[in-house]
């Protein structure tokens, strides 16, 4: 139904002048494509705005390139290259499993058998599988032996199989770890097969099996190159073992202990001397959780390479509910959850390479790719100045972690409740249609995997079709994130400001050095997802006199970390988050699974790590709704001389921003307010508010109440509003917060001639001046409490 024949990505988000950037393009059909570097100015095609604007850039890379199809081999698995020790005559295979989709719908995108522990390809070899009917299956060459008992989903099972080559005896065990009153007993299946295992060069596969090994060019993006894996398993596996003998049930029980690497005075690597000699591989998934290796603690060290970053730091079959941090109970965290739609890296071959000129301006850019048939895609990137070679007094901090969090989001077609968020029927763009079919492009951190479990990691090394111009998001029926931030870029260009761009990634890795040479840092419209070092840098910047303009809402909300196992291929390749005990969550982490697998830190909301979102720029998110927006009105605080600079040329009574390209007003989607009890500095001025104007689609965030109750929506709840806010920071610094995701959508209105543009221009002109900002009036220096020492419950309205 929907063909996007051109897709691609770059090897970097941010690139320095003088450095090289590579682009990977899938051109599925057309013989060639045209590539042009363009500067991105405005990405919104709404006819009530300035329309789509790009600027051509002269570049050596511009030209026509030969097209080729490139595919993503999605789905996670582990593999070990073929080795003589795997060429067994007899064997025992065993592991624990917690399958999530043992049986799938016939139209499901990867319907069919799933591999568990396999050394099997094209009817040769051996392996444990779940078959198409959802039952445990042993394959020995072309023989298939099954229990015929459907495996319960979302429950632990112990499974094992033995084969004695001498006798042909086969035993298949399926032992559910959770048994209910009316469950039939599953007896071990015993049979006899006279066969000799045929061995191939196929790798051992965990959570998959090998379909073929070929030199088909499309296999170049698989790992290992040329090996095509299929039967990608959905669910957890724990403690897989391969032994070269058909063990007794008692020996199988002993082998659950694994290779016992922790014993002292050891003489061998097994639970017993005899078993030691039989171990081919005994993987301990609890060992090396922050790595991409599944550790084999057996004698041959057949560590499995994990591909497409399955989820780790998850509870194993033996989790006791006593420890909640995997770092302190590793052996209870031996579950690796594999998903058939995991993707960590598309691994495409490069098509276009550009050496960025030394004298180029730091701006939003993209590689525009087109064909003569009308195909088109944009591969965005940002040219970021080297530290010490800043080009402007103004920096725009591009919220790339948040872009990654929303990357290739599927909510409109997956979630029954999506319409309840947006209060209308969602609109799917052609990117959404493509993604609905191509789940191998991976989802966003807002989605659940194809098996229903939450997605907690997102890679930038894949085509991200939501980071595109001309893309309206279903949440807003308007631009969101990247194209919405282009509203701001259009305005800066239109008003003639010189500005640099830096990304979350740069600030995360380089800290304050990325910020301190700017007079003012401007955020994007929705910098919701942040690393700890980024927040440190922002605090250090504003405390030392830096000025921060927070252009949106719902920022500084979720804990993110870049997965260190990918540091060798670039900065910020994979970002990880967990949706823990509170916050707006489109899925919820399971008990005991709140800690990041990469850095080991506690995930969830920064607020629940004791780092209030209100402390960064003086406001915090309290509500969201996605139908339509409204406008701000000035408050008495706006008459304070401390903030007079912001309202020059704006009358007290005029509606602020009752127009815009996002929801029809500047106050909408998600909104922040001032709350000095939650971290807004006590001297914060709330200079404008949208109180009382939101629709019933706007609801109070759940972290702000502890008891379900009526009266949480925008027509009645006092905290369902946005507050524009200002406060000074030490050493002549300050923060100005506009507190609405829709806000930047009003900037381009009437080509930038409007009162929101005026307000933002006043603030920017004030904030970008050299040296510390003027001191506030002397009487502004005074002692302030948080609630002024008065309980809100006792406050008198007649004060």
């Amino acid at each position: 139904m929907c063909a996007m024949r051109l897709t691609g990505y770059a090897d970097k988000f941010s690139v320095h002048p003088g450095d090289e950037i590579k682009f990977y393009v899938n051109c599925d059909g057309p013989a060639e494509f045209k590539a042009e570097i363009v500067q991105m100015i405005h990405g919104d095609t709404n006819p009530r705005g300035p329309g789509f604007i790009e600027k051509p850039v002269e570049a050596a890379a511009n030209g026509t390139y030969k097209g080729r199809k490139q595919i993503i081999h999605g789905g996670s698995y582990g593999y070990v290259e073929d080795a003589p020790q795997f060429h067994v005559e007899s064997f025992t295979l065993q592991c624990y499993i917690w399958p999530t989709t043992p049986k799938t719908h016939p139209r499901y995108w990867k319907h069919g058998a799933q591999g568990l522990v396999t050394k099997w390809m094209d009817g040769k070899g051996y392996g444990l599988f779940i078959n198409e009917e959802g039952c445990l299956e042993l394959r020995i060459n072309g023989h298939k032996i099954t229990t015929g008992a459907p495996i319960r989903d979302h429950a632990w099972h112990f499974v094992a199989a033995t084969f004695d080559a001498a006798t042909g005896d086969v035993t298949l065990y399926h032992e559910p770890q959770v048994v209910y009153a009316l469950d039939p007993v599953i007896e071990p299946v015993k049979t006899r097969i006279k066969t000799t295992i045929e061995h191939t060069e196929a790798p051992v596969a965990l959570a998959a099996y090998v379909e073929k090994i070929s030199d088909d060019p499309l296999g170049a993006s698989s790992l290992p190159v040329g090996v095509w894996f299929t039967g990608k398993y959905n669910g957890k596996i724990d403690s897989p073992r391969i032994l070269k003998k058909a063990l007794s049930r008692f020996e199988i029980e002993q082998m659950k202990l694994g290779a016992q690497p922790g014993l002292t005075e050891r003489r061998n690597s097994g639970p017993t001397g005899e078993l030691s000699g039989l171990i081919v591989a005994a993987w301990d998934f609890w060992d090396g959780i922050s790595t991409l290796k599944a550790k084999d603690n057996g004698p041959y060290r057949f560590d499995a390479q994990l591909v497409n970053c399955p989820t780790r730091a998850l509870t194993g079959y033996n989790w006791s509910g006593q420890n909640f941090d995997w770092k302190y109970a590793k052996k209870e965290y031996g579950g690796i959850h594999f998903h058939d739609d995991d993707v960590d890296n598309a691994r495409w071959s490069e098509d276009v390479v550009w050496t960025v000129p030394e004298d180029i301006k730091s701006r939003f850019y993209a590689l525009k790719v087109t064909t003569t048939d009308g195909d088109e895609d944009y591969l965005p990137f940002w040219v970021v100045p080297k530290i010490g070679k800043e080009q402007s007094k103004i920096a725009v901090m591009v919220p790339t972690i948040s872009y990654m969090a929303y990357a290739n989001e599927h909510v409109a077609c997956n979630a029954g409740g999506a319409e309840l968020f947006v209060y209308r029927v969602p609109i799917m763009q052609h990117q959404n249609m493509f993604l609905a079919e191509h789940r191998e492009y991976g989802g966003s951190i807002y989605d659940t995997h194809t098996d229903g479990s939450g997605i907690c990691m997102s890679s930038r090394l894949r085509p991200i079709l939501s980071i595109r111009p001309k893309y309206d998001h279903f949440l807003a029926q308007a631009p969101w994130q990247y194209p919405a931030d282009l509203h701001l870029i259009y305005w800066l260009e239109q008003m003639g400001y010189e500005y640099d761009v830096i990304t979350d990634e740069d600030v995360t890795y380089d800290g304050l050095a990325r910020l301190e040479n700017y007079n003012v840092v401007i955020t994007g419209s929705h910098p919701e997802h942040n690393s700890g070092t980024q927040l440190d840098a922002l605090h250090n910047y504003t405390q030392r006199g830096g000025r921060l303009m927070y252009m949106g809402a719902d920022a500084w909300y979720w804990v993110h970390s870049y997965h260190p196992a990918y540091d060798d291929i670039g900065r910020g390749v994979i970002t990880e988050m967990r949706r823990c005990e509170s916050g707006i969550r489109t899925w919820r982490a399971e008990p005991g699974e709140y800690y990041h697998q990469g850095t080991g830190e506690l995930g969830g909301m920064w607020r629940f790590r004791g780092r209030s979102l209100y402390s960064v720029a003086g406001v915090g998110m309290t509500n969201e709704g996605f139908d339509i927006s409204t406008y701000y009105s000035r408050t008495p605080d706006s008459n304070d001389p401390r903030v007079a600079f912001a309202f020059e040329g704006i009358s007290y009574d005029e509606p602020l921003g009752n127009f815009g390209l996002v929801g029809g007003g500047c106050a909408g989607l998600e909104l922040d307010i001032v709350d000095v009890t939650l971290g807004s500095p006590p001297h914060t001025l709330a200079v404008a508010t949208s109180a009382g104007r939101h629709t019933e689609a706007y609801l109070l965030v759940m972290e702000d109440f502890g008891f379900n109750q009526q009266g949480l929506d925008g027509t009645v709840h006092p905290r369902v509003r946005g507050d524009v806010a200002f406060h000074e920071t030490p050493n002549g610094g300050a923060c100005f917060s506009f507190s609405s995701i829709a806000f930047c959508g009003s900037l381009p209105w009437n080509n930038g001639d409007n009162n929101i543009s005026k307000l933002v221009g006043n603030v920017l002109n004030h904030f970008m001046q050299d040296g510390p900002l003027p001191q506030p009036p002397a009487d502004a220096i005074k002692h302030r409490g948080r609630a002024d020492y008065e309980s809100p419950a006792l406050a008198s309205t007649a004060s």
């Binding site: 995108w109 077609c413 789940r439 139908d627 339509i628 009752n658």
Partner: protein, 146 residues
């Protein structure tokens, strides 16, 4: 739980009329709600619709909370120019399919047609005990799940 109003009843006709007026008033807004803009295409003052018609509000909530399997959705076929009605498969990896050939040139107008289709498709007692299925026991509404 409020019943879906039957065809030909005054309640149903009143809901359709109100919905129609809201849709018309929202044309030009970069967003949408079943509310009436006092000035068409301008959200400065909005009234009516779900804020003032509790039955319409509840019927819409019922429709919006349906399972994604077979749910109607809008598909943009030309950016900011053309839209069509599709139906979600409810199966991961199986994209929505168009339900008919009608092409809309207004992204708001299509909201009204989907409302009418849902009124026809949902039985009066949708969601009530006579429609109990095994799926109720394993969250097949998919309501909170993405």
């Amino acid at each position: 739980m409020i019943p879906i109003p039957k065809k030909g009843t005054p309640e149903r006709e009143a809901m359709i009329k109100e919905h129609r007026e809201c849709v018309d008033s929202m044309k030009g807004v970069a967003g949408f709600s079943v509310l009436k803009c006092e000035t068409p295409g301008d959200t400065t003052v909005v009234t009516g619709g779900v804020h003032e018609n509790p039955d319409l509000r509840r019927v819409l909530l019922r429709m919006r909370g349906e399972s994604p399997k077979g749910k109607l959705v809008v598909i943009c076929t030309k950016i900011d120019a053309e839209w069509r009605i599709g139906r979600l498969s409810g199966v991961r990896g199986v994209p929505p399919e168009f339900v008919n050939d009608k092409v809309y040139t207004c992204e708001q107008e299509i909201q009204h047609d989907i409302f009418l289709m849902r009124l026809d498709e949902l039985p009066e007692t949708a969601g009530m005990p006579e429609h109990f299925t095994e799926g109720w026991k394993h969250r097949d509404d998919n309501w909170p799940v993405t």
